[in-house]
């Protein structure tokens, strides 16, 4: 069967060749096909390779520029975040120092007020003491006077009776 087929194909070639055809029948089909192919290439170039190639290149450029842009913005954002952190830390430090200053000031004022109050109290106490002393002195002298008077009177009475 296979032999038969083999012979068959050879036979086919032979018969076709006899009729002016055949497997290797080169004729005007060749140049026409070449021209047709070139026309097809030109047409496809105009409606396929160029627009789609353009689209691909545009997209590449777009992606690249967007990427660069995004990277730039990311860097900027990071820089800004760093700046904010920096200024936040600065502000915190400032706030702490302000609080500390205020506390120190308040303590100082408190200490001053306390000492003033103590001084005043001391002064008042001394003044009161002095007054008390004076009054005591006065009372004592008055009392002495009275004692003297009374003793004079007693003396007078005693002596007077005797005199």
């Amino acid at each position: 069967m296979l032999n038969g087929l083999n012979g068959l194909i050879l036979f086919a070639i032979e018969t076709a060749a006899e009729e002016g055809g055949g497997l290797f029948d080169l004729d005007a089909t060749l140049p026409l096909m070449a021209i047709q192919f070139l026309i097809l290439a030109a047409l496809l170039n105009a409606i396929f390779y160029k627009p789609l190639g353009q689209a691909i290149d545009d997209r590449d450029a777009y992606v690249r520029s967007t990427r660069a842009n995004a990277q730039e913005r990311l860097a900027k954002a990071e820089r800004l975040a760093q700046e904010y952190e920096q200024s936040l830390a600065d502000t915190r430090r400032q706030a702490r120092s302000v609080v500390e200053d205020a506390q120190a000031e308040a303590q100082k004022q408190a200490a001053q007020s306390i000492s003033e109050a103590q001084q005043e109290a001391q002064a008042q106490r001394e003044a009161t003491q002095k007054q008390l002393d004076e009054e005591k002195q006065a009372a004592l002298s008055q009392l002495e006077q009275q004692v003297e008077q009374l003793s004079q009177q007693i003396l007078d009475k005693l002596l007077g009776a005797a005199v």
Binding site: I9, E19, T29, M33, F37, N45, F48, L52, G53, A55
Partner: protein
């Protein structure tokens, strides 16, 4: 001529006529095979193969139609057909870039790409489209690459393309490649210019024709299921042949532009 009829005639036996008609009845729509017969058109005294042109027009209009549909509304985010064709284009670009080089490949993308697409769609149309159902006088429709004229035309265009590329890039210095690396190789280098188109055209022609013949013979012998693996293999080899043709064409162009001298530096 019809294969199955001949097959029976080579085994003469009793009841040949009956068997013949039986075979005709069963196999005729499936297992007709005509080799080397052409549907001649006469154009101004020139004979051309009509069946080749008919199918090549089909292939060309298919390519143009798909390309047109794909690029009708080009979007930045591709979808559907545009996506597919962009994939094809990127594939072709990569092919050309690998063979010709990053710097020079762009002008050659249309040529190499059309070679690939035309051969690929031709081969697959021969394998997938039931051309045999359309009857034309004196021949039958098949893949355009089934005809030696088509493959020789493509191969000669490739030769012209690489000569053009070489002369354009290197001027008359292109001839220097014939005596490189040594003048002793001059005859072989000249011979190469003939063997390149010859091997290109016959490789494609032989593969596609042999594939169709094998499928036809198998269909003739066992018309059910058995030819299917061979058909799938045929699809595979068809695609590979298109890839080989386009890759070799790009490689020849790249080689012509590069030259043997530049290769050492590159």
């Amino acid at each position: 001529m019809r294969l199955q009829a001949e097959a029976i005639r080579t085994h003469p036996q009793n009841g040949t006529e009956m068997l013949n008609s039986l075979h005709n009845l069963i196999f005729m729509p499936l297992a007709e095979l005509e080799v080397g017969k052409h549907y001649y058109w006469h154009i101004g005294g020139l004979k051309v193969h009509g069946q080749v042109f008919l199918t090549s027009w089909f292939v060309a209009s298919l390519l143009i139609g798909v390309a047109f549909l794909a690029t009708r509304k080009v979007e930045r985010i591709p979808s559907g057909l545009q996506n597919l064709m962009e994939y094809a284009l990127e594939f072709i670009r990569d092919l050309a870039k690998n063979q010709i080089g990053e710097k020079e490949y762009r002008p050659w993308v249309p040529f190499v790409g059309t070679l690939f697409l035309f051969i690929f769609v031709s081969n697959w149309s021969g394998a997938l489209v039931p051309w045999k159902l359309i009857h034309i006088p004196g021949s039958e429709l098949a893949a355009p690459t089934n005809d030696i004229n088509t493959t020789v035309a493509l191969a000669l265009l490739t030769s012209l393309a690489y000569f053009y590329a070489g002369f354009r890039k290197r001027g008359l210095g292109y001839f220097a490649k014939y005596i490189e690396p040594t003048p002793i190789l001059l005859p072989i280098n000249i011979l190469e210019d003939f063997t390149k188109p010859l091997s290109l055209s016959f490789r494609l022609f032989g593969n596609i024709l042999a594939d169709e013949l094998v499928v036809a013979v198998l269909v003739l012998l066992v018309p059910l299921f058995v030819p299917l693996p061979v058909m799938i293999l045929g699809l595979f080899t068809s695609a590979i042949q298109a890839l080989i043709f386009a890759t070799l064409a790009a490689a020849y162009i790249g080689e012509a532009m590069e030259g043997h001298g530049a290769e050492e530096h590159g």
